[in-house]
């Protein structure tokens, strides 16, 4: 056992020393492979990253959710959005069989102020089902009570970021925040929801009961930004999507709304993924191919220059297989070094480029495995012909090749 281990390590060191013999050639081959692996690692991360983005979005929506966002009209402006959906739409949609809960949503950017501080933030009007369907969980204080909705109570629930901004470490519960000229008492703070993949915070919102919102924030408003339906377990999701669409089309002259389902998000991201994979996959295949081609040519030169070495190794008892194994091992050694360097370079490019593409940065360890596999395969394929040529040398002629 110890013997064969010694032999393996000698075999390895002698392969590495052979590569050190001609650093320039080795470096060329190494760079070729590294480049291919870099782009390969990048793709794997891009796919992984946009998949996790999709999962994240779907998780946030909930798999049984249908979200309908209103169109904005032509001259849209963040402060005066002309929503096309209204309360009647909502009431119609709520009656579809198989819809478990329905919620609609009004939002507006407003100046929020305490006694000493102020900032612009999003104010949302929430129906009683809202906190559940959008997964806003109050973890300090309490959620809205049924009476809060009926009595236009001037109470609010705020996000942890807003709480920190206005009150720092102090307890915000029972304190007041002003929107326009109305003061709202803080009764609850929802658990941090983090950020959307695009960096937008979900923790800086001020939520009011819907009736309160309509009375104090947008009194004349019958329009809604979005309607959310939750499909009951066991109901035909696709059928409900179709029905919702046809109900809306009956009231609206044209399709001035957007229906968003987790399926659509998934599909969109899949298409995005596929496009990305095709382009980058092609790029990395070309790079690997070029790297392999360089490697192959370098090994043809290698084998030719070292013909007499093959001759003496044959004289010392190497058979055709061991000669092949030697050159394949040298090639794979370069390729593996290229794989490791390429993986590092790939991770670096993920760090630098992914933010520009809006894809979350991930550094999947499986890309190292993929890199090692692809590099090994490239190394083997590239060296197979030169190695075979080396094995095919007639020993005597190989020996005579040294002058």
């Amino acid at each position: 056992m110890a013997e064969s281990f010694n032999k393996a390590s000698f075999f390895t060191t002698s392969s590495l020393k052979a590569l050190g013999q001609n650093p320039a050639r080795t470096l060329f081959a190494f760079l070729g492979i590294s480049l291919g692996i870099t782009s390969l690692v990048f793709i794997v991360a891009a796919i992984e990253g946009s998949n996790s983005k999709a999962r994240h979005i779907i998780e946030m929506m909930g798999a049984n959710t249908i979200f309908i966002r209103s169109g904005f009209g032509k001259r849209a402006n963040i402060h005066h959005l002309r929503y096309k959906l209204d309360i009647t739409d909502f009431k119609d949609l709520r009656r579809i069989e198989g819809v478990k809960t329905a919620a609609y949503l009004l939002v507006k950017m407003e100046r929020i102020a305490s006694a000493s501080n102020a900032r612009e933030s999003m104010v949302m009007g929430a129906m009683s089902t809202f906190l559940e369907t959008f997964d806003y969980r109050v973890n300090r204080g309490i959620a809205f009570r049924p009476t809060d909705y009926r009595s236009f109570a001037k109470v609010c629930i705020i996000g942890p970021e807003l709480a920190r901004f206005f009150f720092g470490a102090a307890n915000p519960l029972g304190k007041f925040l002003r929107v326009n000229r109305t003061s709202f008492r803080i009764i609850g703070i929802y658990r941090s929801k983090g950020r959307l993949p695009n960096g937008m915070s979900l923790d800086d919102r001020l939520i009011l009961p819907i009736e309160t919102y309509r009375k104090f924030i947008e009194p004349e408003y019958k329009k809604v930004l979005g309607i959310e339906l939750k499909v009951a377990p066991g109901a035909d999701y696709q059928h409900i999507v179709e029905e919702a669409r046809s109900i809306l089309l009956r009231r609206h002259a044209k399709e001035d709304f957007v229906m968003i389902t987790p399926e659509m998000v998934r599909k969109f991201l899949n298409v995005f993924n596929m496009t990305l994979s095709i382009y980058l996959g092609l790029a990395s295949l070309v790079a690997l191919f070029v790297g392999g081609f360089v490697l192959s040519n370098i090994f043809f030169i290698n084998v030719k220059v070292r013909a007499w070495e093959i001759g003496i190794r044959r004289a010392l008892g190497a058979n055709r297989r061991t000669i092949m194994a030697q050159f394949l091992a040298e090639s794979v050694a370069i390729a593996l070094a290229g794989a490791i360097a390429g993986t590092c370079a790939g991770f670096l490019s993920i760090y630098l480029v992914m933010p520009m593409l809006g894809i979350p940065k991930v550094y999947p360890m499986k890309s190292l495995v993929i890199a090692l596999l692809f590099a090994t395969a490239t190394g083997l394929v590239a060296a197979i012909m030169p190695a075979k040529k080396a094995a095919d040398y007639r020993p005597v002629e190989a020996l005579r090749s040294r002058l």
Partner: protein
């Protein structure tokens, strides 16, 4: 039973249209423990004969019995195994692998040996014996011709072969290095190795106890 027995060995090379008959009906017997010099002028076929004796090349026709076994029809794997275990080659131009150090060069044949045993220990002992115990980490480029040839001898011995085949082992050496090398071969022969030396140098041939003359592909004496 002779260690080596050649009968009717013919070797032809094809050069385009032309067939060159380099060895013509060679018959030769070498007993175990002999020290033989093969002599002859340049181009007479000495190296070609030695390659066939070393199973590095196969004859065009004729039979070769090594230790009583007919090896003329063996395949490459079997011939490689024979070279590895039974034959040690020494060449005029040393053929040390430039990127390996002295010890590694000596160990190369053990890579192809299925049961190399304590190869390192043997290598160190043998290198010591030929006066290179202090040079194990040197690269071949840092050695003199005589030292290189001694490394090559140790490499030939590492798998403990029965037969040492040396093709002009002193061809690139000065007279004192030549003497050193030949004395080592003589010592090995006394210890029971069968040594066959190809040379056209009479001094080198003088170490052998039997001399064979080859001329134009035939043994003439």
């Amino acid at each position: 039973m002779a260690l080596i027995r050649l009968d009717g060995i013919v070797k032809t090379f094809r050069q385009g249209e032309l067939e060159v008959r380099v060895l013509k009906d060679i018959a030769l017997k070498v007993e175990r423990g002999e020290f033989v010099a093969i002599m002859g002028s340049s181009g007479s076929g000495k190296s070609t004969l030695m390659y066939i004796l070393g199973c590095l090349d196969t004859p065009t026709s004729g039979t070769y019995h090594l230790e009583g076994m007919d090896v003329s029809g063996l395949d490459d794997d079997a011939l490689s195994a024979i070279r590895n275990s039974k034959i040690g080659f020494i060449f005029q131009s040393f053929y040390l692998i430039p990127y390996l150090d002295v010890l590694e060069n000596v160990l190369v044949p053990t890579l192809y040996n299925p049961s190399p045993g304590d190869a390192r220990g043997r290598a160190l002992g043998l290198l010591d014996e030929v006066g290179l115990g202090e040079r194990i980490g040197f690269s071949p480029g840092e050695l003199s011709g005589g030292q290189k040839q001694r490394v090559a001898i140790v490499r030939a011995l590492i798998n403990d072969p029965d037969i040492i085949l040396a093709d002009e082992p002193t061809g690139q050496l000065d007279s004192s290095s030549s003497r050193q090398v030949m004395e080592i071969l003589e010592r090995l022969n006394r210890r029971g190795k069968t040594v066959i030396v190809v040379t056209h140098d009479p001094d080198t041939a003088g170490y052998a106890r039997r001399r064979i003359m080859i001329e134009d592909g035939r043994i003439i004496q």
